[in-house]
Amino acid sequence: QRCLSLIKSTKFLNAYITVAEETALKQAEESEKRYRRGQPLGVLDGIPIAVKDNFNTAGIETTCASNMLKGYISPYNATVVQKLLDQGAVLLGKTNLDEFAMGSGSTDGVFGPVRNPWSYSRQYKEKSVPKSHSEDKDSNWVITGGSSGGSAAAVSSFTCFAALGSDTGGSTRNPAAHCGVVGLKPTYGLISRHGLIPLVNSMDVPGILTRCVDDAAVVLGSLAGHDPKDSTTIQDNFKLFELPNLTDVSKLSIGIPKEYHAPGLSSEILALWSKAADLFKNAGAKVIEVSLPHTRYSIVCYHVLCTAEVASNMARFDGLEYGHRSDMNKSTESMYAATRREGFNAVVRGRILSGNYFLLKQNYENYFIKAQKVRRLIANDFVKVFGSGVDILLTPTTLSDAVPYTEFIKEDNRTRSAQDDILTQAANMAGLPAINVPTALSERGLPVGLQFIGRSFQEKQLLTVAKWFEKQVKFPTIQLEEVKRHDHGVFQHQKSASFL
């Protein structure tokens, strides 16, 4: 209930598309009963969780922030949603995103942009107010990053304990970095995609957003494992683990991939990155520079593979079985065309168009096949580095801290996505697990995060290292001024209301 009232008081963030107030209260009630009986369903019983609006939820609208699916109520739950509910979690609502998760700002959805909670933090105000003094007070807010910006904002503003995002090119880690939360992209195949409305099937993974690494590990434990409904999930059952408190990192070998020193990387982040490397070095870990030579082809390659799959995946939205249908009824073809023109925004339409171009018979070899080969090379880069004895790669998550919305929209979605995915995207190509750990505040008082990339299915090692790092950097808690006025003391309470 506290979460629900918090959602209301943070409505201006636009983090949620749908708040499932009624069902959430009912779920909470039932959970309470179970606790009273002493029979909770699992560690997540009664825990408030938000889900990105591209996961199917039975009985609750699933829109993908698109006109195409406005009002669409799925008859089934995504496997991850079902698993959460089976554990007694309380589903608070569906979070905002870029339309069909195509974007890196959470600005391109039909329900409007998500505002970064840190825009309203004391930390940001104190440092950035002088600059924006003359401007309209409200115009200075920064973006959340994307495309799971709603989920990141929801976790960051304490409206939920954890949130599900999706991660295809960095869509969980990028907003996590901008919103100062933990964002985990698990290994491809570890968590079922059944019920996640796809962007790029071969790269999509459900992402986990929490306020600390331990929480991420708990949520991961309850979601991971084989799903007969998703043939790309691992066959073995996932073994639950508890994260040890690492005290000794001296046996670790941390790789610093030099290609992640990308053009446009802010000096601030660069400094933070090397500080983090030093942290490991000083603690006795082996820190070595490594090379992932094909990284720079990643974005172009991604563009081809992503748009091709988008073109294919979006073909089902024809207005016949579900979703928006245009009134145009001159012919089936004209109905299709009008439906898709009205249903999709320019970003989605643009990707469909280029994807279909790459898949044309005369282009297939030159684009799609080539991109697949490059993808293999990128994946092999990682195999080689990990084969050489490196345990974990340490990189920045984003090039800079979050930019104000007014800045962000000066560039088009494609340019933005290409810039913003640059450090996160290769992990998706290779299917590797990666995590954003909030590290520090920038000069402007905004969160900055670093990324750890681990070996395939070695989430435990990855999270253990991330937890150690998290402990060292002591990332500050957000101080939300505007909300605090309404809701005194909630944050401190929430923060300590850890279930462990």
């Binding site: 996961f55 199917n56 699933t62 993908c64 699916l69 799925s74 008859p75 089934y76 995504a78 995609r193 059944h194 019920g195 996640l196 409305i197 796809p198 790029v200 099937n201 071969s202 007969p228 409904k229 998703d230 043939s231 790309t232 091709a308 799959e309 073109a311 294919s312 979006m314 073909a315 089902r316 939205f317 024809d318 016949l320 079985e321 579900y322 089936t332 073809e333 299709y336 279909n356 898949l359 044309l360 018979k361 297939y364 799609f368």
Partner: protein, 545 residues
Amino acid sequence: MAAAAARGCGGVWRRAWQRGAGGPAPRGQRALACNVRAGAVPAGKSGLAPWVPVVGLEIHAQISSNSKLFSGSQVQFAAPPNSLVSFFDASLPGTLPVLNRRCVEAAVMTGLALNCSINKKSLFDRKHYFYADLPAGYQITQQRVPIAVNGSLSYSLCIDNKMSQMVTKTVRIKQIQLEQDSGKSLHDDTRSQTLVDLNRAGVGLMEVVMEPDMCCGEEAAAAVRELQLILQTLGSSQAVMAEGQLRVDANVSVHHPGEPYGVRTEVKNINSIRFLAKAVDYEIQRQIEELESGRTILNETRTFDSKLGCTVPMRDKEEKQDYRFMPEPNLPPLILYDAKSLPANMNHQQVVNIDWIHERLPDLPSVKRAKLVEQYGILPEHSFTLLNEDGLTEFFEDVIKQTQMKPKKVIGWILKDLLSYLKQYSLTVKESPVSSFLLADLLNHLEKKEISSTAAKQVFAELWKGEGKTPLEIIKEKKLQLIQDQKDLEQICQAVIDGQENEVMAIKAGNRKVLNKLIGLVQRETRGRSNPVLVKQLLEKKLSE
């Protein structure tokens, strides 16, 4: 039935190409390979080189399975519209395909039966096009690496429609691929709306691609008939064309010997084997006529209009489509194992073992026929007829088991009497009012010489009425027993001789044929109750006295 199909195209051939049986041997390699009777088709009016027709087939066989290829929905013909549609079949966003093992096994079985090499690793692809009955906007198929490749199918057909002259031919099987069926669209023109039934959407199909090794409708029909029998024997498909479980597209072109293949057309919507023969022959004739009048053949899709008996261009497939093939990312490669590669720790319920399936293949039609010929001494062409009718072989063998009559004689009753009655009343073997038990019973009376074969036919006709009487009851009721008392028979014979002076004179003058007339008269007099052999003996004895 192959024979019926062959009959269907004979007229067309001769009119179009004035072909003569036993003409000169063809020069062109293709013609050599594919012409049954005469070789290459002689030229028409223009008097140029002869034409060689080339026919290839693409056959979609619906897999006989409880559930669909990638979803758990049931498979059933003629269920209420949209009653067998899962979320996946309706392409609800977020749903994923899960491969049905039974469908894979059916394809492996079919591949093995068609002498294919089975790919241990095959892949799935998406084929994109927008159509109302294709909810996802793409079909999942196997474009790059299909499950089975490089096979062959042997089939037989008769020359010039004579059952006694059968020729065995072989068509190469290019590949067998697994793919999804589409739904069905029903166009209501008066209200200008389209209704979609997704019951069929996602049902497993095996697409069998036959190389263009055939040259006429008759061959195409015989090849498809043989494939149909094989599928039904395996149980991998029910292959009932009328229910759309077997659908044939024919690729047809003509060219002169030694020249490259001509432009081909694709004839779709052929829903019976008889129409397949007609459609192919019509299309060959049409192409030759077009070319000989100086026109060209368009690479187009045509449909066979069974009412008009001709092929016409298909309107809604006019535009050339780019299917924008792409690997299906939601399905890992399909891995099959054999005894050697099967990992020891693998759950056997989860893997498909090619060798295991191979060992359990039932006898294929060709083997069954050979066995029938060998075991019962029947003619090869009779073995074809036995297998062509569903259940007839079993009926035949049941009769054999229950009668002392020799199989060679039984087969006559099966093919001449039972089969023609079935045809006449349009019944299947299973629906026959005369069971194998009754027929065997009847044949035993005949074999014991209790009745004549003429009488046996009468009994059969009575049995056909299905009134529940036994042959013996009918024999007694109709007084059909052979006259056992030789004196009675002699008397009747004498009476006939006495009444037919002219005939007796003729016989005595040496015209032995007239004797048959007398035998017939005796038969009539006894209402078929006399043994003709005995009557003949008696008559001869009396006439020589």
